[in-house]
């Protein structure tokens, strides 16, 4: 593959008979705390293979929201970058403004052979057009503190794989003493969609014309928040609070993004042996289950045809096995390319050293699904309303009524009525 790529690059260079002209590709990315070093490694590795393309990294945006905002601003002033890494739930904003270029022409007829499985491609598709390619993936997993599980009389080998079992164990951990908490999950759209997917439900119907989480699956998924609070003793932590509590060793089970693994392992240090467990699957029909995937995607923004080919070469590299290996080893995200998982030569050693990463990445490979972005200008506002409703359910409001109200409110603001 690599040889073929180099050979074709050489053929193009010599075939045209011109001195290799340097094309500059400007790359935008966000969240420097996770990405800064990795981006430099990716750019260096790519430029080594493609000496005729110069990769220039823009100063990183603080977060994905800031980043998209900056991209929109730059598009107005005509100073935008050529490719951009954006949140998997945010590239639709760029598509909506006509900034993201379709990629189908570059993907070829057989994307599967390059490691782009239909599940992975689905993360960047809208109305049968490919606008984005996933570059890193994460799903919701359970982080477990084995010390507290042992103290509560539970067993790590025989760890519960149902929500009932998890709640029962959480209650026991919570009962250890007043300073110890059983379980925590953030009241948040992505977490809710994950639980919903575990029950086999969907937030919206196929053509995104109606909300469908006011189903028995959705009510059961939201009901978990109340059960965590009432039976498992979940406290009303803010996300930051919880992310401090868990590494401190006073929280038994935390549902969080698999991308936080490195940070938690570091925080836990010698206090306990951080263990990652897959999210329980609640639906009887396994084929209905999917876990919405967080992480980042790469989009092509340049509409200059000469630049597009170079931009695509870069995108193909970072979403290909070599780029993915760099991303996985340096960020803790799961790869978004099947080849890199199937071929042991890429990450075999990494997984041998990081069994927790294998758990998380296998879950991505088996159950990756789209993180639904609600359509229209109020799409992001809808996610905040979901979070607010989950807080109410957690604090004891009637689950069914709250979720049905929420669904009606969302239909109203999203123009679905």
């Amino acid at each position: 593959m690599k040889k073929l790529l180099m050979a074709s690059t050489l053929a193009v260079t010599f075939g045209s008979g011109v001195q290799a002209q340097e094309t500059e590709i400007r790359v935008h990315y966000a969240i420097p705390t996770i990405w800064a070093d990795t981006q430099q490694l990716l750019a260096d590795a790519f430029m080594e293979q493609n000496p005729d393309i110069q990769i220039t990294l823009d100063g990183a945006a603080e977060g994905y929201e800031d980043g998209v905002q900056r991209l929109l601003r730059e598009s107005i002033s005509g100073t935008g970058p050529d490719v951009a890494y954006v949140g998997l739930n945010l590239w639709r904003v760029l598509e909506d403004r006509g900034l993201a270029q379709p990629l189908d022409g570059y993907l070829g007829d057989d994307p599967l052979s390059q490691g782009y499985t239909p599940a992975l491609l689905s993360l960047g598709q809208f109305e049968d057009t490919q606008y984005a390619l996933a570059t890193s993936a994460s799903t919701l997993v359970m982080y477990v503190n084995p010390v507290l599980v042992e103290q509560a009389g539970g067993s790590m080998e025989d760890f519960p794989d149902t929500f009932d079992g998890v709640i029962e164990l959480a209650a026991k951990i919570d009962a250890i003493d007043a300073a110890t908490d059983g379980v925590w999950i953030a009241p948040h759209d992505w977490r809710f969609q994950s639980l919903l997917g575990s029950y086999g439900g969907r937030p919206m119907n196929e053509d995104e014309s109606d909300i469908t989480f006011d189903s028995p699956e959705g009510i059961a998924a939201a009901g978990l928040y109340q059960r965590f609070a009432e039976e498992g003793g979940m406290k009303s932590y803010s996300e930051n609070d919880a992310r401090q509590t868990f590494p401190a060793g006073t929280l038994g089970i935390m549902f969080e993004s698999s991308s936080l693994q490195a940070r938690f392992a570091e925080g836990a240090g010698d206090k306990f042996d951080l263990t990652v467990k897959p999210l329980p699957v609640a639906a009887e029909d396994d084929s209905q289950v999917y876990f919405p995937t967080g992480g980042s995607a790469i989009v092509m923004l340049t509409d200059d045809e000469a630049k597009q080919q170079a931009a695509w070469d870069y995108m193909a590299f970072v979403t290909g096995p070599e780029g993915q290996k760099i991303i996985v080893e340096n960020t803790g995200y799961a790869p978004a390319n099947a080849l890199v998982i199937e071929d042991e030569s890429y990450l075999g050693n990494f997984y041998a050293d990081n069994p927790n990463a294998r758990v998380a990445h296998t879950q991505v490979a088996n159950y990756a699904g789209p993180w639904y972005a609600f359509p229209g200008p109020d799409g992001v506002a809808a996610t905040d309303l979901i979070a607010a409703a989950l807080v109410e359910v957690t604090e004891g409001a009637d689950t069914e009524a709250t979720i049905e109200d929420l669904a009606d409110t969302l239909r109203g603001i999203l123009g679905m009525q």
């Binding site: 932590y237 930051n240 401190a248 200008p377 109410e392």
Partner: protein, 299 residues
């Protein structure tokens, strides 16, 4: 050509005031006018087109429960912060001013300590507060816990979070108000106290009520205006500690403005919030100058 004296003076005036006026127009009035225009559209950040929507954005702000909560939360916050931060600022200033007479060194040490929160970056301080107020690991709740008292979730309890933020707002602004009051106190002529004593106002209370407090009138007016505008602008603590949550319980006008404009990309709606925010500040300034200025008669 010789210009008449009045024309020359007119040109000089133009030359002196013109650049500042132009800058004021370019950087304040025109942007505000653009925001005002945008507030009547459904413009989305980065979009190529927009529609005129009349007063829809304003109606949405005052009729949606989220919008109304942002407005009421801001008013509650301001209503707590103004009296407490002005009151405590005055108390601390009077105390430290008296202290200068018998322990000037300690007085200066305390002045520095009280001023520290003002000098420190509020964002960094917010992170510190978050750790101090952490529901189980924070020093406040650890202390309450060992004393056998209930340990509230200061920043994640919906009924408490706004008051916690207001308390931090008070903490942050006391030092600034103290400095302003100290300057006001230093400007009070000592003869007035002597005269008051001759007239029989010898006790500290009567000295305060007959001399200090009336003489501090202009300072108090200024302090209140500054405190109120700062309180209305509350943003950093909300953004860093609660993000307006849980469930919009600590959503304020400026945070809602940020959220709508820069997270939801709804520039039109965010502009409407901005105009409401301006209106609040304007009304506040007018009320304070009208009402309080009437009582500051001897200036």
């Amino acid at each position: 050509m010789r210009l008449s004296r009045s024309k020359r003076e007119g040109l000089t005036d133009l030359w002196l005031a013109g650049p500042a006026t132009l800058a004021l127009l370019a950087f304040i009035f025109i942007p505000v006018a653009i925001v005002a225009v945008l507030s009547f559209t459904n413009y989305q950040f980065g979009a190529l087109t927009f529609d005129w929507t009349g007063f829809d954005n304003y109606i949405a702000l005052f009729s949606s429960s989220v919008g109304r909560r942002a407005v009421t939360n801001t008013l509650i916050y301001v209503a707590i912060v103004i009296p407490f931060s002005v009151g405590f600022g005055l108390l601390v200033a009077v105390g430290l001013y008296q202290m200068t007479q018998w322990a000037p060194r300690w007085s200066n040490v305390f002045k520095t300590i009280y001023f520290l929160p003002v000098a420190a970056t509020l964002v960094a301080m917010s992170v510190a507060w978050q750790m101090v107020l952490h529901p189980s690991l924070g020093i406040v709740n650890q202390a309450l816990f060992s004393a056998g008292l209930p340990t509230p979730s200061w920043l994640s309890d919906r009924s408490l979070v706004l008051y916690t933020l207001a308390m931090i707002g008070v903490w942050q602004s006391i030092g600034y108000n103290m400095v302003l009051f100290l300057a006001g106190l230093a400007a009070i002529p000592a003869e007035l106290y002597d005269a008051a004593e001759v007239d029989g106002a010898g006790g500290s209370w009567s000295r305060f009520w007959t001399v200090t407090w009336p003489m501090l009138g202009p300072t108090t007016l200024f302090v209140m205006v500054v405190t109120a505008t700062n309180a209305f602008r509350v943003f950093e603590t909300v953004a860093t500690m609660t993000k307006g949550g849980p469930a919009f319980a600590s959503d304020t006008l400026v945070y809602a403005l940020y959220r709508e404009g820069f997270v939801y990309f709804k520039a039109g709606y965010a502009s409407a919030i901005t105009m409401v925010f301006f209106a609040f500040l304007l009304v506040l300034a007018v009320i304070q100058f009208r009402v309080v200025a009437r009582r500051v008669h001897y200036r």
